[in-house]
């Protein structure tokens, strides 16, 4: 049978399912304006560790993408869905991107790729939703003093301190904001992450949320004493300011990237004053996040919250430095004044 190049990868191809009437030059160009003499590639995929031949694909279009090759590989090995495939030119090299085109890679007409199984994958959206829903609900359980947390005489009572109510609102608002951003704002570069991450991440978020909530909503909680009401007010202002800031940055980053794409561009300040911090910082979303949690720490004057802020700051600094470094690598004209997370400092 006159072969369609690869079986059913694109909708277009299946529509072009061969009517037998077509004259059979084997080299049949696609609707793109390629010349008649198209050289098909052969692709062999080897296991990166054992070098076993896992799959051989012939008659691969030269403008096939890695993503399409992954789909084809998935057909012969159904247990390895594309998201868990890492395809690379060198067994120890970097993963190729889904968008990379076969003929633009440094391969001959018989391309050899190495495959590594990334393990079970889970979508970023799923992980984010799970890890943020936990703190939202757990904190509320402590706030409403659900039984078996505190002494029975306190079950379903409420704290007499107004700062405790305020803290609950702030904490809940924060995680609600995160959930909504995950659903409607963020544009993720990667679809998936390794499955074990969900356990790690949820332990972190849920664990810390429970730990903080336990003390803030405790019957023996002591509201801020150092500067009292003034401290709580200023902390609230800081918290709200940084929440708006963080949201502004998320929107600005979203607008850099057309829907469904994975483009990367240098972010710049927009008309929104909260984004002017881009002049000094590469990852102001982390800067604002730190500010929010500092506000929450001051508001509650609770040491576990301070620990959570500190740990989060360390992690975000690591991420910010990595992001800053990849900006510098990717863009020659990256503004030199910017620091990763703290203006001029870090």
């Amino acid at each position: 049978m006159d072969t369609v190049v690869f079986k059913g990868t694109t909708a277009k191809e299946s529509l072009l399912a061969p009517p037998p009437i077509l004259p059979p030059p084997v080299k049949r160009p696609k609707a793109k304006k390629t010349k008649k003499a198209v050289v098909f590639f052969e692709v062999e995929i080897l296991d990166a560790k054992t070098k076993d031949k896992l799959c051989f694909l012939d008659k691969v279009e030269p403008n096939a993408t890695i993503g399409e090759i992954k789909s084809m590989f998935h057909k012969s090995h159904p247990q390895w869905y594309p998201a868990r495939q890492s395809i690379r030119l060198d067994p120890k090299g970097k993963s190729l991107k889904d968008e990379d085109v076969l003929q633009h890679l440094p391969v001959g007409t018989t391309a050899t790729f190495y495959f590594r199984d990334l393990g079970a994958q889970i979508s970023w959206v799923t992980v984010f939703l799970t890890e943020y829903a936990g703190p939202l609900l757990l904190y509320l359980m402590f706030y409403f003093r659900v039984p078996f947390i505190y002494a029975p005489k306190y079950d379903f009572t409420t704290s007499k301190h107004w700062v405790v109510h305020l803290a609950c609102m702030c904490h809940s608002f924060h995680y609600l904001k995160r959930l909504l951003e995950t659903l409607f704002v963020h544009r993720f570069s990667h679809g998936t992450m390794p499955l074990r991450n969900i356990f790690k991440n949820c332990t972190y978020y849920w664990g810390f949320a429970a730990w903080m909530a336990y003390y803030i909503n405790h019957p023996l909680y002591t509201p801020p004493t150092i500067y009292g009401e003034q401290q709580v007010r200023m902390a609230l202002v800081l918290f709200l300011f940084c929440q708006i800031g963080n949201f502004s940055i998320h929107i600005a980053l979203r607008n850099l990237r057309p829907p469904g794409s994975k483009t990367r561009k240098i972010p710049y300040p927009t008309k929104n004053p909260f984004t002017w911090i881009f002049l000094l910082v590469s990852c102001p979303n982390y800067t604002y996040e730190l500010g929010s949690w500092l506000g929450f720490t001051l508001m509650t004057q609770c040491l576990p919250v301070a620990f959570f802020t500190a740990v989060g700051f360390i992690q975000m600094t690591v991420w910010a430095k990595g992001k800053h470094r990849s900006y510098l690598k990717e863009f020659r004209d990256y503004p030199p004044l910017r620091s990763p997370i703290l203006p001029f400092i870090l």
Binding site: Y221, T222, I226, C302, L303, P304
Partner: protein
């Protein structure tokens, strides 16, 4: 007998031997070492100065633990019983065990090719037992479990530090290597038993006195129950000890493996 040098280079402990030979080669990787998984990734290995320092460090530690060993024996002979020997070696034990904190620094700086986290973890657990349990809870100091872990530590450390010393000097007697990878089979469980029994003995006193514990209410809205913490520490031995033990057993097979070809099991 070059053979042992080859197998030795493929494992963590004799990573040290490896970069002694790396040091003598003009550039990284020109020696016959296949880069082991613990190959120092960026650094070339210690220079002559670092090696000299490490030799001194390991010699001093070997000597220190020998002092503790001798102290134990002499006290036993003097008293005629196993009880209360802790007091006779309390000071050198504290000094030399705490001194082991330097090993974390060695890893961090890169002159020793081990993981900072792993080393830190091991040293901290020792230091914790020495100070936060045995020193802090006077009532357990006369327990026999203390002697159990102190003697396990002493024997282990004498062998371990002399192993490092000889490796650094590139003259490792097979006996020392064998001892390092064999004695642990008994000493490790022995030490763990002593440690667990000591922590367990400390529990009632910690609960009674509220040692190192913070209660609510307080202005930082924080609490800490040392008693519960100690119980959690004891529970953590359950997942951790087997992992470390079997890791050492795997190392043993790798390092001493060739010797077993000649043995008939």
């Amino acid at each position: 007998m070059i053979n042992w040098q080859w197998t030795a280079k493929c494992n963590m402990a004799s990573g040290i031997a490896k970069w002694v030979s790396v040091m003598s080669a003009p550039a990284m990787g020109t020696t016959k070492t296949a880069h082991s998984d613990l190959a120092p990734k960026k650094k070339k290995g210690p220079g002559a100065l670092a090696t000299a320092y490490l030799v001194i460090y390991n010699v001093v530690m070997t000597a220190g633990w020998l002092v503790i060993a001798v102290g134990l024996v002499r006290a036993y002979l003097a008293r005629g019983s196993y009880h209360g020997l802790y007091y006779s070696i309390e000071k050198p034990l504290k000094f030399f065990q705490t001194g082991a904190l330097l090993e974390i620094l060695h890893c961090a700086v890169g002159i020793v090719p081990s993981s900072v986290v792993l080393t830190g973890f091991q040293v901290f657990s020792r230091v914790f037992l020495t100070w936060a349990v045995t020193h802090s809870v006077r009532e357990v100091q006369s327990e026999d479990s203390v002697l159990l872990f102190v003697s396990a530590w002493t024997l282990t450390e004498i062998i371990r530090y002399s192993f490092y010393t000889f490796s650094l000097l590139n003259h490792l007697p097979y006996l020392i290597k064998w001892a390092r990878y064999t004695f642990f089979l008994v000493l490790y469980p022995m030490g763990v038993t002593g440690e667990l029994l000591t922590v367990y003995a400390a529990l009632p006193y910690v609960q009674k006195t509220g040692l190192y514990s913070i209660t609510l209410p307080n202005k930082y809205n924080f609490s800490f129950d040392y008693h519960t913490f100690l119980i959690l520490i004891m529970l953590s031995y359950i997942p951790l000890f087997p992992q470390l033990y079997f890791h050492m057993m795997r190392q043993r097979k790798k390092v001493l493996g060739h010797a077993e070809e000649y043995k008939t099991e």
